[in-house]
Symmetry: C2
Subunit: 216 residues, 2 copies
Amino acid sequence: MKIGILGTGMVGSTIGTKLIQLGHDVKMGSRTATNEKAIAWAQKNGIHASQGTFTTAAAFGEIVFNCTHGVASIEALNLAGAHNLKNKILIDIANALDFSKGMPPSLSVCNTDSLGEQIQRAFPDVKIVKTLNTMNCNLMVNPNLVANGDHVIFISGNDAGAKAKVEEILREWFEWKSVIDLGDITTARATEMLLPIWILLMGKYQSPNFNFKIVR
Amino acid sequence: MKIGILGTGMVGSTIGTKLIQLGHDVKMGSRTATNEKAIAWAQKNGIHASQGTFTTAAAFGEIVFNCTHGVASIEALNLAGAHNLKNKILIDIANALDFSKGMPPSLSVCNTDSLGEQIQRAFPDVKIVKTLNTMNCNLMVNPNLVANGDHVIFISGNDAGAKAKVEEILREWFEWKSVIDLGDITTARATEMLLPIWILLMGKYQSPNFNFKIVR
């Protein structure tokens, strides 16, 4: 499958590399076509890896991953262009962490709204599925790194077909065993609001290699 | 020990009853000394149970539990009186859930502040310890109800001695095995922000008998 990755950070490169390993064609997009991290990533990952602008990566992907910083996501998606994303699944991994007031960061949107909803409102013809935003990127693509994968991932979105496809990606490509569909995109508020405790726990454990499990 | 319980709802009566069973003297406080739920609770729980106003319950307790609705907690604590709480441990279980805009509720304070912090600022001479606010009341006093108690409870507060005492209460009185001290009272933001996903999961499971575990 042809997949676009928006963002050149740890999340984008980790997801992109995993998708290449699975045999997909991946284009990593950034603000310019000369981003050094994107060029290095594409060179390292073989002929199925390429890079370009947000626009060309969005146009390239049959499915697109939003791996940009949450506070810059809307701007990045505007650069990608609504017409390049139209009717596609956009997997939104971003968290709207605002570091401008120091550590720990706060959220630039939460409680009565969420980044997932903001993106869905701004791009009504795109199928936004919020997921993968509640754990470290190494766990995103390899949940078996901790506790034999016995922990959870959440999924939120308005389009049932898009959520079914994303759940298939999570289970079959990334090997997630426990996927919890929380409901429509408004439920992204709840997962985005997990970030404050995730950040505290990362500081406490001095490691990002942990995740939430729900016991009943 | 003499313990004051502020609030006559499910949380207050469940905690109060557990404390009575453990042999403590408990006074349940409410806005008036004629609250029917408080009178019924006191009559049902024997000679070590009593009831009165927020003021008399706060004055009675060597330790006080805030089991009021979060949006009304500051007002209830003002009625209790700062002088009646001075230098005492106040275990703050409340969540600032705002149901005024329908379901699901939003939080009336979050992200850059928390109810725990608001209470600590309003009552600087009281040792606020935020805990027990991230699970159903039956689990609060009996974590072994699910998964043999293999799940977590968080604790936040500025006073190390107060937190040590509350951790002892959680472990020895209520049988919690995994108590995570997140840090000072500002970390209450993170646990209060767990409520949105807790509420979604309760709806999904149609049961409040679940809790979070952290796997590493």
